[in-house]
Symmetry: C2
Subunit: 250 residues, 2 copies
């Protein structure tokens, strides 16, 4: 059993709350947010607070606030417990060196309105002592997540690469949806190819999955696509990724 305090009620905070609440091995003793309204619904299940002076003792304090608020919030935690932030791009040093510090970063995309299970989600942990690393591993195991021991430098790269994998590919879907809409075609027409593309990536990896005009050096099709692309920014985007693929597979 682990006693945890959750600090923050953003996308990750909400999803951790839902998970902790139903998890028998995790005892959520407090949930802090600067405005209580948002977490009011949880008061029948845990103590909710909006003042860090009212914090109680816990094994782990999990800070899920905006990156720029991490330092400020942590300064106010006057307990011996392990303090972790959940940011992908901030160093473990964001936590004051006088504290027992660590990082607990789930590589996943979260929304408040969408319940995401932590089962099989990779969680990157970092801590300065073996004991604290073991505690974080235990927390991750309780969530049935997959644990990776990752230092701050590695974590930064994961966070940047995740922007390419998640945010950018999602935007490519948005661009494609717009193109279809201009000809009154539904985006559903791409659901099947998106599924197959990712299944292939999981099974044989992205390099071997690469197909398309740039991969096979089909310049005629590339020229045609350039002609159809009236939007200058979309054309630039098309050209830059096409060049990258050509270069990779030349």
């Amino acid at each position: 059993m682990l006693n945890v305090v959750l600090i923050g009620a953003g996308n990750l905070g909400f999803n951790l709350y839902r998970e902790f609440y139903k998890n028998e091995k995790i005892n959520l003793i407090q949930w802090y947010n600067k405005t209580l309204d948002i977490i009011k619904f949880a008061e029948k299940n845990t103590s909710i607070i909006d003042d860090l002076k009212n914090l109680n003792h816990a094994d782990i304090y999990i800070v899920c606030v905006k990156d720029d608020s991490i330092k400020k919030i942590i300064k106010k935690i006057n307990f011996e417990g392990l303090i972790v932030h959940t940011s992908g791009c901030r160093s473990i040093k964001e936590v004051n060196s006088k504290k027992r510090r660590g990082v607990f970063y789930p590589v996943q995309t979260f929304n408040k309105t969408r319940e995401v299970s932590f089962k099989n989600v990779p969680i990157c942990i970092e801590a300065e002592s073996k004991k604290d690393l073991y505690t974080l591993k235990k927390l991750s195991n309780y969530l049935k997540a997959k644990t990776y021991i990752i230092d701050s430098e590695q974590r930064k790269i994961i966070h940047l690469a995740a922007v390419f994998v998640n945010n950018f590919s999602n935007h490519l879907y948005t661009v494609a949806k717009e193109m279809l809409a201009s000809k009154k075609i539904t985006f559903e027409i791409f659901h099947s190819i998106i599924k197959e593309t990712t299944n292939k990536v999981f099974e044989i990896g992205p390099e071997k999955s690469q197909t398309g005009p740039a991969k096979r050096g089909d310049n005629k099709t590339i020229e045609e696509h350039k002609e159809i692309l009236r939007n200058k920014e979309y054309k630039d985007l098309y050209l830059i990724i096409t060049r990258l693929i050509e270069k990779k597979y030349e």
Copy 2:
């Protein structure tokens, strides 16, 4: 029951062969390829030929060859049946106007070595007569695919947009994998986020799924990412997609 002749043994040709062979309502009467070796394995199930002079009569001739070979191949088909090509970017006019012509374009990514079911795959059909359109719809139904009646102009846009959705997002995964490899981190760490990203897209669409530093205007993180990105082309790619997201959600 439909009698079909399959012309070509590329990625799509192979997958259509597999599907036709096991489909009780489709009678594959011939499979043509310019070299017989590749399709030799199929001779116990169908007539295989390497000379178009030996073609037999069929309801539909399905031409799955390289875009630049479509016209040349079709010239050699001297039968009354419906002739369709399977290209995403070529007009129905690639088929000689004296023929009963059409298009049968599955919006999917195919490999020879990977068997893909046509079930639920969107198939874009085009033909000049209602009767031929009906025949193509029947073929598509037999495959349990989803049929869309799409003209040549629309199909070009679908093909271009599919490059963004499939080829380009796949390359973003490749770039991300490279970044991880530079810090000895396995790409498996992204399987879970890729699954969740696409599930979200299917359920709420890509616009509402957008997250990340560009979406929330987190310039500090963007500056940090720019610093980490040593590869100039990756930096350009990062900047152009970041700008597009900022513009879309400003």
